[in-house]
Amino acid sequence: MSNQATAFPRPVPAITDVSRPYWQAAREHRLELQRCDDCNEWIFYPRQVCSECLSSALSWRQVSGLGTVYSYTVMHVPPHPGLADDLPLIVAVVKLDEGPQLTTNIVGCEPENMVVDMPVTVYFDDIDESITLVKFKPL
């Protein structure tokens, strides 16, 4: 999965103070999302205020890591030159059981076996010494 030989580095998250707890939990192989203490809305991506009620009272909570594939595409042309070695790449949107949807990759599944709405569970991919991406695999 390394692209060290290519001219383009792979796209990696530019972590902010607001999002650091999310990526730190992923590094420790836990999936944590924010939840609003006032209206109980689950929030993704990480924010300073709840996107529903605009409350600032948000807490980090661990979630199940279970969800379903809302949709997916098998990329046959690299969407980014830094991902040229990853083809065919399955880009998916996973709907977590708690509600929020994440952009992700499905691993451990041949492209021809992919099905919309299939159940998946979280898979933490340590792509380098500091970043862990939140991917999913078939349940």
Partner: protein, 388 residues
Amino acid sequence: MSLRGKAAITGYAEMAPQKKPEGKTSLGIMAEMAREAIADAGLEKSEIDGLLTACSLSDFSMLWPSAVVEYLHLKPRYFDQVELGGASSAGMVWRAAAAIEAGMCNTVLCVVGDTWDSRLFMAKPPPFPATEAEFDAPYGMVGANPGYALIAQRHMHEFGTTPEQLAKVAVDQRTNGCANPQALFGDKRITIDDVLSSRMIAEPLHLLEIVSPATGGGAFIVTSADRARHSPNRPVYLLGAGEAGEHSSITRAPNMTHSLVKPAADHAFAMAGVSREQIDFIQPYDCYTITVLVTIEDAGFCAKGAGGRFIEEHDLTWSGDFPCNTHGGQLSFGQPGMAGGMSHVIEGVRQLMGRGGERQVDGATIGYVNGNGGIMAEQCGLILGVEA
């Protein structure tokens, strides 16, 4: 208060898209388009007292409207940029009408131009929202291909839409493109087999279902209904407009298959006071085949989910029973960057002025235009007509 019939488009100009810049700059293209559109409307440059523009992808910068004003030596009393991605040009029409109706100015130049050079684009891509760079891009959700592929996949799953139905959009639009001398891909008709045997890019979307970036641009002139009566061209009135937004990344859209085309279109049709049956043609933003299918459904021309069958059963060519993207759409015309959505507005105006030439829709009096930006993120529906 409604904008219905308050302003009209009285002139336009459009550049034939070309693959390479060939020495042109985005500002230079805008200036050429401005010159031609002003002349087409029978005006002098000094009569332009409003400007709406969209920043080119190739020269993305802040303070863009003033850069255009400076390049053209304009002295606007109202000027701004509309940044709704591919919906920007459609969004200019009602903003210009609103500024005129509010007394801010009399005549607005709406202009966009862009150049395409893949090497320069890769070296300096226009900035996307940081949230998408952080939470989408690392997984390969970069550019528009994956997002629209996700929509198509989900649409197929929910409604049984087939690859053949999607491909027919590209086929019919190519027939239109072959009647447009300005189209980048207008030499040869294609078949459904051609589309489905073209290279798979992002399942389920094939190469011929995806726009090709280009260099190009266009401009149009909006003025008050009163002033439009003195136009050398048949005035094309804004009858209705509607806009909608809810997400940026398609991952955060509440529903991937039910788009915001619907609220935008509903608002536009209500303002215009016309029914879907009165529409003589549609010019829906087409970055992909699936975009057209979803727009046909959500604009209310068929039931939700029935778009595939609708496309199968109707002839989308300029002489067909449901003329759609009569210039070929961007799929055949080419997508000149931020100016891509300009082509749908101009083709709508061209048809209503009766200047469609070989591809003129007989007796066209009312048309629907939709601008779409990002991954179905910005929607602007317009109803244009020949009578105020």
